[in-house]
């Protein structure tokens, strides 16, 4: 079928809740193994280096030096570029490009990030480095937070500007880039102190929590300016605010604590000419209308495993935000048959595609996602996703 829009026009139309020529596709892949398979390159064998007993022993001793040389940060710059290239090669319309030069290694098994989280270093089945696994927060008191060295956080906008300039120069006309980083304001307030400590601080020291939020609000706005300067057309506000049973804290308290910050972030993005969507895992029904009030152009994840039904979300906020995601990554994109993948895409488009304002996307990145099934997802979008839609919403 012929396509009359460029990928940039198509994604813009969907984000502006207009009908594009076809339902756009949105890539969220962050896994080394699949990305390097797609672009047919060999990644640096980090897994081997960290798990081999001889090289691991070197890393155990030389970790501070490795951090100082910035070699891992440069690897993150390169990875963001490579994962964009993978999205282009697969033929996606839009891609969520994370740029996260935040890890600092203690030794071959553990790391911290620049915000105050401790992690275990992990690798996938093929020995590639995976997203480090959060173990605990290192900020045990307001004094810890005030004393935390924040220089790397403050230097990041300049670094991300350089990384995204290269991406946009090379591929900005081939795909709609949505920049992102870890972490959003909610995750950055609770994770470095741990959820138990955070919950108690909400009750006993709310002013401290507000101070932390304000710091990260300012930081996020600086990142937006850096992206806009690089020519990035969109941003993802990445911040898991819900669990599988619902929001992690009372939505009233979320609004009180984070509402003004979210509004400033979306206003800043819009003033800079960027679109901005919010990503959160979990059962997000109680947050959707508030996010729309805050000015987000779209919402991503909409996890079926958390009980999120696309038709219900469309009814709730489909006239205010573009819906993105809902493709299951526990079965459909992992081990389902081609018929199942096609049916999942057909149903998603039937439930959310009417009038525009929907983009097909996996709910998250995961090492078990099958490239073959991603291909089927894209093929099915070609089959069912052209406007005017020929499929109707399911009864």
């Amino acid at each position: 079928m012929s396509e009359s829009m460029t990928c940039l026009e198509r994604v813009n139309a969907a984000l502006e809740l207009r009908e594009p020529d076809r339902v756009p596709t949105f890539d969220v892949m962050e896994e080394y193994a699949n990305i390097y398979k797609i672009i047919e390159k060999k990644p640096i064998p980090l897994g081997f280096l960290f798990s081999n007993k001889f090289t691991a022993a070197v890393i155990d001793r030389a970790a501070p030096l490795i951090n100082m040389t910035g070699v891992m940060d440069r690897e993150m710059d390169k990875f963001s570029h490579d994962r964009t290239a993978a999205s282009v090669k697969l033929g996606y319309d839009a891609t969520w490009v994370m740029h996260v030069p935040i890890w600092r290694f203690h030794d071959s098994r553990t790391a911290t990030d620049i915000y105050g989280r401790a992690y275990d270093v992990v690798f996938d089945k093929e020995g590639n480095m995976g997203t480090p696994m959060f173990r605990e927060g290192l900020i045990t008191s307001p004094a810890d937070w005030y004393a935390w060295d924040k220089r790397a956080i403050l230097k990041w906008p300049e670094r991300t500007n350089r990384a995204f300039k290269a991406i946009i120069d090379d591929m900005g006309d081939q795909i709609f880039v949505m920049a992102g980083f870890l972490f959003g304001l909610f995750e950055n307030t609770w994770q470095p102190m741990g959820f138990e400590r955070f919950s108690v601080a909400l009750r006993r020291d709310k002013d401290f929590i507000k101070r932390v939020i304000k710091f990260y609000e300012d930081h996020f706005c600086m990142m937006l300016e850096a992206w806009a300067d690089a020519g990035v057309p969109g941003a993802v506000y990445t911040d898991d605010q819900a669990f599988r049973s619902g929001p992690m804290i009372n939505p009233r308290l979320m609004k009180e604590l984070y509402g003004d910050s979210f509004c400033r972030i979306t206003e800043t993005a819009h003033k800079l000419g960027m679109k901005i969507i919010v990503h959160s895992c979990g059962r997000v029904y109680d947050l959707l209308e508030w996010w729309a009030d805050c000015g987000f152009d779209g919402v991503h994840a909409l996890e079926p495993t958390a009980g999120v039904e696309l038709a219900r979300v469309k009814e709730m906020v489909g006239d205010r935000m573009c819906l993105i995601g809902n493709m299951d990554i526990t079965h459909i994109l992992v081990d389902a048959s081609k018929e199942e993948v096609f049916e999942a895409v057909r149903k998603s488009i039937a439930d959310a595609g009417k009038g525009g304002g929907y983009m097909i996307a996996p709910t998250n990145s995961h090492p078990d996602i099958s490239l073959e099934r991603l291909g089927w997802m894209l093929e099915a979008t070609e089959t069912y996703g052209h406007y005017p839609l020929e499929i109707k919403a399911d009864a």
Partner: protein, 210 residues
């Protein structure tokens, strides 16, 4: 219920952290039996659970209730007779091998303890052999496995197999919970139940240990 116990129950339900420990002290000073003080706190936790199920309380509120319970028990526990806690049975609880997420698991542990279970919390990233040993050593009737990461679900099947191999599967029931768990996964892994949240977990384990 006496005035102090009413106030304690109310403080628990309203998550008034600063009031709980002083109210426990006061109730004991005024001659309330420690076991009744514990009862008032547990009743408060049940109230918190009910509000969570109604959608009025959220995850952070369950955590706060757990903190309140801990602060109250710090005062109360030295005064309780042996066996006052944990009468409903023993549950072995952990996050499975390869996964280190513990918020949900900790909440389940708190809710079970305050509902009268003895909880053997093995922590996170726990190999199946350690679970088998804990079941055997504690005569547990139930095992709770938490898993957040889809990539680690196979660890659930490993636990089931290890309990079967040790000849313990018939004496324990297994429940799973966590972001990636589904009814289909529970069936595939051969476990007995799936809990959507910490409040539902209490009901499941009450059923297991009845």
């Amino acid at each position: 219920m006496g005035e102090q116990l009413e106030a304690l129950n109310k403080a628990m339900v309203e998550l008034d952290l600063d009031a709980i420990a002083p109210l426990v002290e006061k109730a004991l000073e005024e001659g309330e039996a420690p076991v009744d003080v514990l009862g008032a706190m547990c009743q408060g936790m049940t109230g918190v659970g009910a509000l969570f199920e109604k959608g009025e309380y959220y995850l952070a509120d369950l955590v706060l209730a757990g903190e309140g319970m801990k602060e109250g028990l710090a005062v109360l526990e030295p005064r309780l007779e042996a066996g006052a806690l944990g009468g409903k049975g023993t549950v072995v609880l952990c996050t499975v091998k390869g996964d280190i997420h513990d918020i949900g698991k900790n909440l389940v542990a708190t809710m079970l303890s305050s509902s009268g279970f003895e909880v053997v919390d093995l922590g996170v990233d726990v190999p199946e052999a350690q679970i088998v040993e804990a079941v055997r050593a504690n005569g547990a009737k139930a095992v709770g496995l938490s898993v957040l990461l889809t990539s680690m679900v196979q660890s659930i099947a490993d636990v089931v197999k290890a309990l079967e191999a040790a000849g313990l599967r018939d004496q324990v029931k297994i429940a799973i919970g966590g972001a990636c768990t589904t009814d289909a996964l529970a069936e595939k892994m051969g476990v007995d139940a799936i809990g959507r949240d910490a409040v539902e977990a209490v009901r499941i384990f009450e059923g297991f240990c009845a």
